[in-house]
Homo-oligomer: 703 residues x 2
């Protein structure tokens, strides 16, 4: 949908809801949604059906025009939907929820129907959910405008889902999972309103403190990033984007009919958006419950307070596993306070073991003391059932203490029925509780991740002074050649964008080759240049360490090998290049490809033979600012190599960052560059050199 | 404990249990355990307390001698425990459970008390649990001989825990977690009986189908491996070994007083034992529930059958993430069968979406058809609540179909109360059910892992013909030198064990250096040899590519640099070594260290600068057989590099395997070798060469 999200909010705040297609037929969508609304909705429910006088005892209207409704829920057969939308538009109903299925998800006829629907809705500037939606819910009005289950408990989490069944499942599960919801939408086919609109609308909604999403695709990647960047500083967003794996992507595409881009693009896009990504349902809602507490840790140090030693060790392991957390180091004052209040057998160092005979008072004292410690940014409280711990009193004691200190606390309630009273209190008081210590720690980790997102400053990529005209000329070579690949013959692209290359040139006769070599200090590398020979080394098309005297002969030899290997290959010449000293260098790769949802991406990683084997790479949306490019050099596993591990001299990181930034701007400037690989980009203590180049150009996109 | 586990089984099958230290004092251990036994134990409970006539209405005996008990539970104060053990021994009570705390976990006095206790128990050949144990449970006899919670539901899982509180927690949680137990033991201080004894005893117990453990240490690593290898072909064992991380290990050690070895040793040891390792409580019991079903998949292909598209995609992602699973490819017959029985809107390709209006019959038909497919080794069934699916009937329908096909099925019940009837049936019929599709798939993954363990053939390491006498001499150099480190001056170790090295020698004058270089084809590498100079390259003590003519001068130069760097360094000479061509080679590392629990380990990984940065390594217990060594070369991330990724020539894998095997035998043969690093071991298409060596020797262990 286009700008402005005022209409979207109207979906969740109507005084009057019309159900177009209301009926009494058992098992029908029209009956289910009418019943759900009549059941509890605080506003007025208006059944619309020209064939009936009443529905479920309510008077029934002939058309939506008579209803004066704020929201119309549409449950008529597919062939009638367009007329109803038209009617809504005429009647000034801006908010429409289309439950009817049989559109884009069913084939060509349905897709055509959906196009018409979208055009009509857009003509009336309508906020339309669906089609093929389960509906919407707003707990603040007890409004259940779905044909699904009963309303979940109220809370501060709003939830959008690209799967209607998943809404049903989560709502049914909400009570035992300790989840409370504000607004819920089943997105359906996302014909008009999509994830971007709800992120924007709920970002502005004071009753929504956490936005949770289940997505199988993002319609407009860049638009989503822009909206989320405005939302996430105030309201955390956490999503499962499924179709992560090849098998999953295929399943998602057959489920929704949408073609999703590569997962690396979603990874980069969600990161750029400041959205937390969960990989399972459990992680999604575990994070949501922690975030719903509204606090973030101001230190990575975690205190563990437990009445059971073993589970304390498990929590400590989980803290050790977490990227953003560590076990807090208590001050001497904290330790001496604990020594003064705990029994001699207690462990007063972190993890604090108040031991098995602790009552609620002792546990609370220990928690109070540790939360006051300056290094403690969050805490895990672990309780196993004992004869001395009163679980009816535990919940308020822990919640009061956490509130006093304004420090996030996650609780492990390690037991079943015995602990139920505490579980209930923690739910009411928005303290997340879990059985498994690892899950409690994961909840705190989500808070630390959100704290980092909240602290982000998004920088505009610094402008780059480039010779764009020259690049245009180089790329247009593909038109003449009737081809879409370029190799080292396009190395001048790098000069045009200020990316350093080794000394050298592509030449097309042996004498010129010798002249180039004469200008270069030391031996040279020579490579055959042909758009038709992809794997140059396989045919002996690369020679390393050629001395000046041998250059002319080597030229002839390389060309004759290429000709005998592939007689019809177009040979553009031979590249003669300075040999780089790799002793202190690291071969890296900078690459790019274009994603259907998120546009150009830039990739950085460990290059050479390692790039394919170890897949040690990281992606961002292009172009990147210097800060982002620097983060990329820190994100890969091999980062310490660049920074001088094992007594090596560090490489020139500024130059590496600069090269990433320039490549990212190049691909952003030229949509015709579909794919690009600089492999290797050799990084040394004295700078970087782009040594080899492959790119794929889409001639249709040439400017 | 020593050989034989007959006594251990007796702990869980007594006719008569004596409680020594039975009392009525509120809040006491002696009262709690007596009450628990009197509550439900099918045998006879015999309170023993010379100061009382009756306890809780039962007649009280003066001493254990009068009880004629099969098991004595001891809850007397610490100072009286030894006398009671003695008394038990005299009375012929072989099975004793000591609940009393205040032993090794409390300091020097306690440790001394524990030594006495162990000696006495061993003198009487007693199967003794504890001290500092919560007790034992046997659901078959309704025997709760703990001072903890009520008995859990009966089942086929036996459970041992090094944390008593964790037993309490798990037992309290068992009902809602869908867990059923056979025997349970709280291991306490493991003074006599430890994890090895219970693995052996439960391996022989026909009522135990799965063994679950929470361990903070393993007392005797090699003994545990031997016992587990006999048990795991018939009975799966799954454990959490906590203290995985540095912080966790420190916490575990302060909790139990035990010094645990490095986690890499536990990883290698548990793998060698055929034990599944879980990293969280949830994973532990999720795996246990899947294993309790008793089936393993005979194909890696997974069928997903769902009434909800989105969750089907999530399950497919989880299958894509799993190492040992993939989405099954259905045969044409399967697809055509499904097309014949499913509605047109259904998806008949995997994941099979029977769509939202499916009833139990349709779901069952789809499952029946897919389970019959030859590529399907296991299945995930996913159900979200719908109006058409009867959850009272679902459980038996799915369980019957799974049983008919003898194929493991995991179920996602995606909802709360609505699905409770099905959850109950699945629990009764030993079909694991979960909310999260990712957890259901993880359950199946555990089954696939166990299938692979069951299929293992443990091979004896092939004998190696080595000059052990020569090694003894080389290692004894450290005695003369008053030092415990050896470097390249000990390269002859490799010759003695048949491990190839580059041509070369350590010499102590320039003339000899020139002579060695003259014998070598091409340039040489020269390195200073001194036990006092650890980082040779940092002081310019290494020269690469020295031509024959320069060798004598380089010798002098290296020595003079070393002298000026460290005047008092002992200089043993200079190593003159053939230069290896690394173009087609891969630098690997073979290392070893000795673990306090598991003895010598052998490590293999990517060498050179990458070993510390990427930590791409794998560990095994030494010595290894050829099959294990080959698996090591496949386990590292860089494995494809060895096997010829990206058009490279594969390295000589047989030679690599042979070198690993020989190093592993070397360290196994010589306990005096505390640490050893061969870095790099250069692997090329033509063989391997051990290029550098560092080892640490324990002079006390020299033979």
């Amino acid at each position: 949908m286009t700008e402005g999200s005022a209409d979207v909010a109207g979906l969740f705040d109507p005084d009057r809801v019309a159900v177009v297609g209301a009926t009494e037929r058992e098992g029908s969508v029209g009956r289910a949604v009418t019943e759900n609304l009549l059941d509890s909705y605080a506003g007025t429910t208006l059944p619309v059906n020209p064939r009936r006088e009443t529905v479920l005892g309510e008077p029934c209207l002939d058309g939506v025009a008579e209803a004066d409704a704020d929201v119309a829920v549409v449950a008529v057969p597919p062939d009638y939907v367009l007329d109803v939308i038209e009617e809504c538009g005429e009647a000034g109903v801006d908010n429409v929820v289309v439950l009817t299925a049989g559109f884009g998800e069913t084939g060509a006829d349905g897709a055509a129907r959906e196009r018409d629907l979208r055009e009509t809705a857009e003509a009336y500037d309508m906020a339309l959910v669906g089609p093929n939606s389960l509906g919407v819910m707003a707990t603040s009005l007890s409004m259940n405008a779905t044909f699904g289950p009963a309303l979940p408990p109220a809370g501060n989490v709003s939830f959008m889902s690209q799967s209607g069944a998943f809404v049903t499942a989560v709502v049914d599960w909400a009570l035992e999972a300790g989840l409370g919801f504000n607004d819920i939408v089943s997105l359906g086919n996302k014909s008009v309103l999509d994830e971007t609109d709800f992120v924007r609308a709920w970002g502005d909604d004071s009753d929504t403190d956490v936005i949770v999403g289940y997505l199988e695709s993002v319609v407009d990647g860049r638009g989503f990033v822009a909206a989320a960047r405005e939302t996430t500083p105030d309201t955390p967003v956490v999503v499962v984007k499924s179709g992560r794996t090849d098998a999953g992507a295929q399943a998602a595409s057959s489920h929704t009919g949408a073609i999703a881009g590569a997962d690396s693009a979603y990874e980069a896009g969600l990161d750029a958006a400041g959205v937390l990504r969960a990989t399972s349902v459990q992680e999604l809602f575990d994070s949501a419950r922690a975030l719903a507490g509204g606090l973030v840790p101001d230190s990575d140090g975690v205190a563990v307070v437990t009445n059971a030693g073993g589970p304390g060790v498990m929590a400590t392991d989980a803290v050790g596993d977490a990227d953003r957390l560590r076990l807090a180091s208590f001050s001497d004052a904290t330790i001496s306070d604990l020594q003064g209040t705990m029994p001699a057998e207690a462990n007063v160092y972190n993890p604090v073991d108040v031991i098995g005979d602790a009552d609620v008072g002792r546990l609370q004292t220990a928690l109070d003391t540790t939360l006051a410690d300056g290094d403690v940014g969050s805490a895990v409280v672990i309780t196993a059932p004992t004869a001395t711990l009163d679980f009816a009193a535990l919940g308020d004691a822990v919640a009061d203490t956490a509130t006093d200190h304004d420090v996030p606390v996650a609780v492990c309630l390690m037991g079943g029925e015995t602990l139920a009273p505490a579980r209930e209190t923690f739910r009411e008081r928005s303290i997340p509780s879990y059985f498994d210590p690892a899950r409690a720690v994961a909840g705190l980790e989500a808070l630390a991740e959100y704290r980092d997102i909240r602290g982000r400053r998004y920088e505009e990529p610094e402008p780059i002074d480039a010779d764009r005209e020259r690049v245009r000329e180089i790329l247009s070579q593909v038109e003449e050649r009737g081809d879409n690949r370029l190799g080292v013959e396009a190395m001048e692209l790098f000069d045009a964008y200020g990316i350093p290359t080794p000394e050298g040139e592509v030449v097309d006769d042996p004498t010129a080759a010798a002249e180039v070599a004469a200008r270069i200090d030391g031996d040279v590398v020579m490579k055959i240049v042909s758009p038709d020979i992809l794997h140059k080394s396989d045919i002996g098309g690369v020679r390393v360490g050629v001395s000046a005297a041998d250059v002319a002969d080597t030229y002839e030899d390389l060309v004759s090998r290429a000709r005998s290997y592939q007689p019809d290959a177009r040979i553009l010449g031979v590249q003669v290049q300075e040999m780089l000293d790799l002793d202190d260098g690291v071969e890296t790769i900078v690459g790019s490809h274009r994603d259907p949802q998120f546009g150009p991406l830039v990739m950085f990683g460990l290059g050479g033979v390692f790039v394919e084997v170890l897949e040690d790479t990281t992606f961002r949306l292009a172009p990147v600012a210097a800060g982002e490019a620097e983060q990329m050099t820190a994100d890969i596993d091999a980062a310490p190599l660049l920074r001088g591990a094992r007594g090596r001299t560090p490489v020139d990181l500024d130059a590496t960052v600069d090269a990433i930034r320039r490549v990212s701007q190049l691909v952003a400037d030229f949509p015709s560059i579909v794919e690009l690989d600089v492999n290797p980009l050799v990084a040394t203590p004295d700078g970087v050199r782009a040594v080899d180049l492959r790119l794929t150009v889409d001639p249709e996109q040439l400017q």
